[in-house]
Amino acid sequence: MGRTVVIVDDSKYLVKQVVDFFEGYLGFTVCATGHDGNEAIALYRAHRPDLITLDITMPNKTGAAAMKEILREFPDAHILMISAVRGEAMLECMNGGAKGYIEKPLKFNDPAFIDDFKETIREIFRESPG
């Protein structure tokens, strides 16, 4: 039984790419996809996935705010930030409880990028058995 993931990004094109990667390379089941922070919270509540990926800059509610709300409700949530935002905003997300981060642009044709992505997922799930 593969792990489940919810993918949230305001760019539909990127969502599609990330979905393909999770399903094709990592063997995850994508339960749902969303495009803003509010959707992210609703989708997490509805599906309780093993992992949720969030962009930071999104309409209506930022990924950082969505992350906080999800963690308040589900302290064990596994959250992966995928964003072009660097530096302090990402640092704050990681300090706030995100389990890992991936920097955009998503270079899915770069083997080094794919290795980093896979390793990040491994790190996220290493601490909690099962």
Binding site: K16, E88, K104, L106, E127
Partner: protein
């Protein structure tokens, strides 16, 4: 925490307790045994006194009864009275003596109060004891409670010839018996008191003696322990140089001996450790002194440790790294300083789970720019990297910070970038010249040269004026250039900047831009010396002259000599030639004539680049307005076509190109996020079999056909059921229905969804077709096919 109680106190206290307990126990034993003995003794003497009283009474009663036989027979009152009263008087124990006849009438009743024994009345006695005595047939006794003490009455009948004549009765008091018992008891009590007194004084004496002795003794036992404790305390504090003396020859002495052995072993061990540490530190210092990087370490609370590499001070430009905070060393502002602490916290939590390379990337600073010296503008560029330092258990203890001076590398990079830019601009200039009609270019260079000439004259004049003013008024020289003058200079420079930019002469445009900036300074109140600025502008004019000369050289290289380039023919003359040619065309059969005619007709044709020039400007203008970067590319741009070949398609091109820029191309930050470079609008044109085919392609976000369908359903343009059966092309075609926009916001450029409707209507009018090919995330291509002659529809 237990309260400290010294061994000595414990010893003294417990010994005192023991002595007191022993004495209390002994005292209680003595008291109890004394009481038991006294009681037993008084009981014994009571019994013996009673026995002697009984014997005396019995003998008295028996003897009297025998002696009175004769006296009673003779009725000798007096003799009886004498006998009885003398018996009572002689013996203190006898309380009374009575002789009564058979009718219980007393003849004698002698007592201590009535020694003579004359009865008070001659009435018979009547009381229980008398009745008991009167019933006796032989001597007997009976005890009863008298007034002050118990009385034992001894009675016997006086019998003569078996006939009872009377009764003799003696009452003996137990008074003397009780008195002797009380005396014995009083004696016992006195003895007890004496005993207790002796015992208590002995107890107190023992306590005093015991206390003194035990105190002395315990002092002798505990004093070595005390000094041992003091010594071990110093050792526990880390001072291994204190020698422990073996003061006594008992267990404590033994213990002190063991402690001393232990101390010397530990001392040897720590000395060895210290040697090892010194050695390691020396090695570390050697490394720190030889390393070519600025290296220092930061604790997890953000404090800087005192070890750092010898080069660190130089690289980080501080006097002593150890005396600086991280914020000072890494030039962190307040926010970054806070972020750095956050980061330390994060790496402490996550360094075991995540790769260091990922954690390191989150550090607030990776590059630092420092001024080389306090009063220069030259900068040093440092690259900062971080490494974790863990203890044996793998816990993070500090962070090693490495600062590498990359100024030289950076300078080289900058130089290379500069060179590349020059090179690129050179190539760009050449391409631009090659792709621009020679006359246009020549016109540009002539115009620019004359403007530069004028600018030069003005600047030289101003410089002359400044110098003159300074010579005449050395102290108060203030030379202001009027606004009109500056404006005129500005206009010329701006034109040069704009036109040279549009032809791709970047260097020229760049110099003009710099000169513009300097002009701005001339407008400001006098801050700097005017002639400095003017000289600088003059220098830039030199550069611009050089650039325009370069351009000129290139033009000659490309187009040949001047006289071969500029061919300017008034349009009227060309039109005249064309008209003439058209006249000949119908008559001529000679292929060479036909060819000539054709060439002549084509004199007025223009390359696609210039035909699409208007749309290129439109696209760039639109892009500027919505803050996007685009490249507008015309395929096969040198191919020539009649100047009116795009007639009738203006509306269509305007809308399609605007749409591509406004909707198609993403915002720069989105493109960066997606890893896309500068946006590209690519147009191509061809004319085949009398049909004009124009395509406008962008590499933007593509049309979300599902969203188009959704919007159409919302607008009731189509039912949901029908929408589900649509093909991809049909879905895209919904765009032309009008009122559908997928733009998130309506801008003044587009977004109302009417653009595509206008395009569609226009194409229908022109009897043409339109096709949209779009891929989400990749881009959209709109292809319009329209017949040259609108009367002839497309098949």
């Amino acid at each position: 925490m237990q309260r400290f109680v010294s061994i000595r106190t414990k010893l003294v206290f417990n010994t005192m307790l023991l002595i007191t307990a022993t004495f209390v126990m002994l005292l209680s034993v003595i008291i109890v045994s004394n009481i038991v003995t006294v009681n037993r003794n008084s009981e014994k003497s009571k019994k013996s006194i009673r026995a002697s009283l009984l014997a005396k009474g019995k003998i008295l009663a028996k003897n009297n009864s025998m002696a009175m036989r004769g006296m009673a027979e003779d009725n000798s009152f007096t003799a009886i009275r004498d006998l009885v009263s003398s018996t009572v008087a002689d013996d203190n124990d006898v309380a009374y003596g009575i002789y009564m006849d058979r009718q219980f009438i007393p003849w004698v009743y002698a007592s201590l109060n009535n020694p003579k024994g004359v009865p008070r009345s001659s009435q018979p006695l009547d009381d229980p004891i008398t009745r008991w005595a009167g019933s006796l047939v032989r001597p007997s006794f009976k005890e009863y409670a008298g007034g002050e003490s118990d009385i034992i009455e001894f009675a016997a009948p006086v019998v003569v010839d078996d006939e009872i004549l009377g009764y003799i009765r003696y009452g003996i008091s137990t008074n003397s018996m009780e008195r002797s018992i009380l005396e014995a008891q009083a004696d016992g009590r006195a003895t007890l008191k004496l005993l207790i007194l002796i015992f208590l004084s002995t107890g107190v004496f023992s306590l005093i003696v015991g206390y003194t002795v035990v105190r002395k003794l315990s002092a002798r036992i505990t004093s070595p322990i005390g000094s041992l404790v003091t010594s071990t305390k110093s050792i526990a504090g880390g001072d291994y140089d204190i020698v422990i003396n073996q003061e006594s020859n008992d267990e404590i002495g033994d213990l002190a001996g063991h402690f001393e052995t232990m101390r010397s072993t530990v001392k040897q061990y720590t000395d060895h450790l210290q040697d090892l540490i010194d050695e390691k530190m020396q090695q570390v210092n050697d490394i720190l002194n030889n390393i070519d990087q600025g290296l220092f370490t930061v604790n997890l609370d953000g404090t800087v440790n005192k070890e750092y590499s010898a080069r660190a001070n130089t690289i980080l430009k501080v006097s002593d790294v150890a005396r600086c905070s991280v914020r000072e060393l890494l030039r962190l502002d307040l926010k970054q300083g806070a972020a750095f602490l956050l980061w330390l916290d994060l790496v402490r939590k996550l360094h075991k789970q995540q790769r260091w390379v990922k954690l390191e990337r989150l550090a607030p600073v990776h590059q630092i720019e420092l001024f080389t010296a306090p009063d220069t503008l030259e900068k040093n560029y440092l690259t900062v990297s971080y490494q974790p330092i863990c203890d044996k258990r793998g816990d993070l203890v500090k962070i090693m910070v490495l600062a590498l001076d990359e100024t030289e590398k950076r300078m080289k990079d900058l130089q290379m970038a500069d060179e590349r830019m020059r090179h690129e601009s050179e190539v760009k200039a050449i391409l631009s010249i090659a792709n621009t009609p020679a006359d246009e270019i020549v016109e540009f260079t002539e115009d620019t040269s004359s403007r530069l000439h004028g600018l030069r004259a003005e600047i030289v004049n101003h410089l002359y004026c400044v110098r003159r003013q300074r010579d005449t008024h050395p102290a108060t020289a203030v030379y202001a250039i009027t606004k009109e003058h500056v404006d005129r200079l500005y206009r010329d420079l701006h034109t040069i900047k704009g036109t040279s930019g549009s032809y791709g002469f970047d260097m020229l445009s760049y110099f003009a831009h710099q000169a513009e900036d300097l002009l701005e300074k001339l407008r400001e109140p006098v801050q700097e010396r005017r002639d400095n600025i003017l000289h600088d502008i003059n220098g830039l004019l030199d550069c611009m002259d050089q650039s325009i000369n370069d351009i000129h050289t290139k033009i000659r290289l490309i187009f040949g000599k001047d006289e071969e380039i500029a061919v300017r023919i008034p349009e009227a003359r060309i039109n005249g030639i064309i008209e003439l040619c058209k006249g000949i065309e119908t008559k001529a059969d000679d292929p060479e004539v036909k060819m000539l005619v054709r060439e002549c007709v084509m004199l007025s044709w223009k390359p696609l680049k210039s035909l699409f020039g208007k749309y290129q400007r439109l696209a760039l203008k639109t892009a500027r307005k919505v803050k996007k970067n685009i490249n507008f590319i015309v395929n096969n741009e040198t191919a020539i076509f009649p100047h009116d070949v795009l007639d009738g398609l203006d509306d269509v091109l305007v809308h399609v190109i605007r749409n591509a820029v406004d909707h198609g191309i993403e915002e720069p930050e989105v493109r960066e996020e997606l890893g896309k470079s500068v946006g590209r609008i690519q147009v191509s044109f061809e004319c085949r079999d009398g049909i004009r085919i124009i395509s406008v392609a962008d590499d933007g976000r593509g049309i979300d056909t599902e969203q188009v369908v959704e919007r159409s359903i919302e607008k009731n343009s189509i039912s949901r059921g029908r929408a589900e059966r649509l093909t991809q092309e049909e879905k895209t075609a919904l765009l032309f229905k009008g009122g559908i926009s997928t733009a998130a916001k309506v801008t003044d450029i587009s977004g109302r969804g009417m653009g595509m409707r206008i395009v569609y209507d226009r194409i229908v009018e022109l009897k043409g077709t339109i096709a949209v090919d779009s891929h989400l995330g990749k881009g959209t291509t709109v292809t319009v096919s329209v017949p040259v002659n609108k009367e002839k529809p497309l098949s």
